[in-house]
Amino acid sequence: MSDPEDRIDAWLNAEVEPLAPPPGTFDRIRHRAHGRKVRRATMSAAGAAIVIAAAAAAPGIASALLHPSAGRPERPAAVGTPAPASRPAVTGSGSGGVSSESSSPVPTPGASLSATGSGAPVPPNFQPASVTFVGQVGAVIGQAGTPGHCPIIRADCTSLAGTSDYGTSWYGVSAPVTGAPDGSRGVGQLRFLDTRDGWAFGPELWVTHDGGSSWTREKTYGMRVTDLETAGNRAFALFAKCTGSGADYAARCTSFSLYTSVAGTDQWQSVSGPAASLPQAGAGQAAAASLVLTGGPAGGQGYLLAPSGELLTGPLTGAAWTVASPGVPCPPGAPGPGGQPTGALLAADSGQLVLVCTSATSTASDTQAKLVVESSDGGAHWSKVAAALSAGIATSVAIQAQDHLVVLATDAGLYRSGDGGLTWRRTQVSPGGATAGETGFSYVGMTSLTNGVALPADPGLHEVFITTDGGISWQAHAVSPS
């Protein structure tokens, strides 16, 4: 019995001793279930009525991609009318699911992001997949309820939640009426430029100009939006032709192009120069492309790591981007679920770039060799900082150049370096210990020198993690009850 395999098998194969229900259990369960069913049916009917009304009133798709090279039929240059802010609300399908006795999982019509909250509840079982912050105000997008039992789109319950106190408390926000990412359909990522203008994407593209109260689907002409970032007064988005299925919607992509749109216009214009058509990875390889923006419109800078390993850079004004480096020290790998970059994780801040190069993953040991390289001249030249920790599989990196802070999210926890990546310490995660302390993370971002946000790899935790001390400690905040 000393062999670990034997002990595991013995535990697993031990006969489960049945536990008979106390008398009356079935009747109690039946009554409780009936009460929940009544409440849910009432709320589903209300939600459906709202959406039917909104669908009848919604105008056609208003925006189109603009491309300087006219005559490409898949990217017509027609310009639509921007959506009026007063459009009737089209709400997300945030209801249904495994609601608890006290939950109120109703899709919230017209609930928007605001500094004072919407007053609407967060749907139960909210599983955050993507997070965005503008100062203290933030939002998460994810699935809620029970897939297959959503009142509006039966299969998926795409939902939004907002916070106005940097993640401490959350309220319901209306969501795009679409599903989870599935091939060419659905959305799983979210970015807001300010508290009014936001985009939900991956692979579809939806826009709001009223803080999420109403959402409009943008045409993408058969392409998928694999990445989108906001800065200054613009959004920049990567459009690609992809054949990946299911959650791997950003897999097997070709023909990446960078587009930009001034907030409020819904007119997407191709960024001229090499970004208009990114160089591909080598033959037979399908790598990800990733986008990082820093600063505002004046002096702000964007960086785009192409599948080939070429690094492009340009201003945030819509003007042409150019090649910063023909090849960064490590090429991007195949995209992970949701288009997550692998192989080369890029972060930028105030002219400083950090690239975390990762080896192929050792699935047996759950470790990964990592190398940190940096550039202080916009990506033209790179120097090695250090071989980073081997623990965990890296998923995301964030930096604050002023404090030489680098935070790395891995499937084995969050790691922090206060010296630009030279030395690393695992961060304190609260509640720590057996569960949250071992939580893997899929995303980390720093929004100021002190404040940052991380998403657990398991959305089923219903939490985001927040730091207010420069990444030293991270506190879990529940977005919704289970």
């Binding site: 670990p4 395999e5 002990r7 595991i8 535990w11 697993l12 031990a14 489960v16 001793e17 049945p18 536990l19 008979a20 229900p21 106390p22 259990t25 079935f26 109690r28 369960i29 039946r30 409780r32 279930a33 009936h34 929940r36 069913k37 009544v38 849910r40 049916a41 495994v98 609601s99 029970t146 897939p147 297959g148 039992h149 989870a180 299911g246 959650a247 791997d248 679920p337 699935t363 047996a364 040991s365 759950d366 499937d411 084995a412 509640p431 720590g432 210990g433 057996a434 569960t435 949250a436 071992e438 939580t439 893997g440 657990p456 790899a457 398991d458 089923g460 935790l461 289970s482």
Partner: protein, 161 residues
């Protein structure tokens, strides 16, 4: 709103009679407490009955919900343990949680990262196939296989220490 129709009620009661004892026993091995096991099994059945129509596989739904509830219980009890520890800082640690004595398979499963733990419990312990677990967790089959591999490797390494 009508209550469960007679046929549905009979089907639900049949499922309850067939599955409750095993589900509650399954949970009891994870929480080691009869009362909590009954609470979790009852809550899982309540949620199942509240969603009764349209479920393709009620049994997998039951175990999925039970797995989530067990996870919540572990988190809650972990917080309580830590709160007690902080209150009794300076006093000897509760021997029940001394690392040297806490190395049993259940505790190690509890300590697995959530991503690995759910897949492990549903596949190895509840007996669902990889495809079924992938559908339940909304992950690709390959990811589930890798998670199962990682989970076993971690348990094996921990038990070998």
């Amino acid at each position: 709103m009508a209550r469960l129709r007679t046929a549905d009620r009979e089907a639900a009661e049949d499922l309850f009679n067939a599955c409750y004892p095993r589900l509650a026993g399954w949970v009891r091995r994870l929480v080691d407490d009869d009362e909590t096991a009954h609470e979790i099994a009852s809550e899982a059945f309540t949620r199942l009955l509240a969603r009764w129509s349209g479920l393709d596989n009620p049994q997998s739904y039951l175990y999925m919900i039970a797995t989530n509830l067990v996870r919540d219980h572990w988190r809650k009890s972990g917080r309580e343990r830590r709160a007690i520890r902080s209150l009794t800082a300076g006093a000897p640690l509760d021997p029940a949680y001394h690392p040297a004595q806490d190395v049993d398979v259940r505790a190690l499963i509890e300590a697995l990262p959530p991503r690995l733990r759910s897949a492990f419990l549903l596949h190895y312990y509840a007996g669902f196939g990889v495809r079924e677990v992938a559908a339940m967790l909304g992950r690709p089959e390959g990811t589930v296989k890798a998670d199962l591999h990682h989970a076993r490797a971690r348990l094996k390494a921990a038990l070998g220490d």
